[in-house]
Symmetry: C2
Amino acid sequence: MLTPRKQPRQQRSRETVAAILEAAAQLFQRHGYTGTTTNKIAERAGVSIGSLYQYFPNKDALLVALAEHYLAESVQQVAQVFARAGEHRPPLPVLLADLVECVAVLHTDRPRLHRLLFDQAPRTPDLVTRFRQAEQQIAQALARELRRLGTGGPDPELNALLAVQGIEAHLHGALLDLPAGRDATAHVRAVVRLWQQALSAPCDPAEAHRSLGQASSGPNRRSR
Amino acid sequence: MLTPRKQPRQQRSRETVAAILEAAAQLFQRHGYTGTTTNKIAERAGVSIGSLYQYFPNKDALLVALAEHYLAESVQQVAQVFARAGEHRPPLPVLLADLVECVAVLHTDRPRLHRLLFDQAPRTPDLVTRFRQAEQQIAQALARELRRLGTGGPDPELNALLAVQGIEAHLHGALLDLPAGRDATAHVRAVVRLWQQALSAPCDPAEAHRSLGQASSGPNRRSR
DNA sequence: ACCGAAAACTGAGAATAACTCGCATCATTG
DNA sequence: CAATGATGCGAGTTATTCTCAGTTTTCGGT
């Protein structure tokens, strides 16, 4: 990621940058991305518009910086779940329940921030890259646990990545865009149940023979 | 969805609207959403900027209209898969392979359009609603098939919705943001395998007893 | 064929918001 | 206590969305 702008060196400027980010977070969450102007952000931060552009090359960069913080924090939260798992060695259902619980808290804790970063903001390539990177970090930790448990299907690394992507999508749907007439907790429980089922296949490649091909609609192909 | 703009009544204006949408689709795909100005769209469409704003209240509305078309088309494609399934009664693995194949084509056919809509569209609440609606339509069709097959776990409707959300997320990741060093077709095959596993639990609630252990080992835990 | 009304089209320019730049002020260092 | 570099400033430039008053085209009725 390029940083074509000055890095704050003195204490004073570090405070300026912090104030700008704080103001940006508040205004973005309150009025949305397009509903917030860089001038308003500078005003609220108590600095001039020129100072803002001294540290952020454009409006998007504010968003990327916020995402950077949020994602780093999120990855750390999830890492704690795996750290505990490393000690207690829980069975798969417990591990998944803890993981989902943790990710659910990340959604419900600051829903407007989460929504801002995932929905309201234009997804710049920088942001997409950063999201994928966080996904991969988490997926690696999960894959390690799956291997330890001897589960996760023929390719635990790949399935771990799919699980992380899926769980995010599912909780986002369940907690931020809940379909009418659905109960959120039941929905979340279903997510846990489903991923437990999905990841319960043994790790042993013996099961990975050549079970599935591309297949069109002929009565061919059989299940595991 | 509000339509605070004139509806085209004469043939001439219907052609104008079509030309504007065609130009918008091309320019958005070539230069991105923010990289395209409404004036350029009007110019390319061969109409004046005023005409554009006669039919679209703002730039976002162009995106919404494009998404509307694309989603309707996509839902129709997927519906065909289920229509075929209604005739041939394929087993779960074949049905899933066909479904994934179909969704994969929707991604690879016009990847730039797909990316445009998924990356930019979430900013508009209208579009989020529209996407969810499409998801639900597809999920309902899938749930019907799951019930027929006596599979899909304790709540086939809910699991079908999760499957549709997950498959979209997975294929998006596999085909538009493929992680370095991964093979796309292998990735797609893994998606099929995973969802086959996830949805293979019998529908009969007898199996839904209390198959999952709960109680965490750590001093966390909250839900359920 | 003609007329009046409604629909469609036009493009200069008002309004808004991102971003720049030359200069003033502050902090640090030798 | 210079001198040098870092930080801060904000009116002004630029780019882009969107409006509106006026013109042209279409169409139904006579």
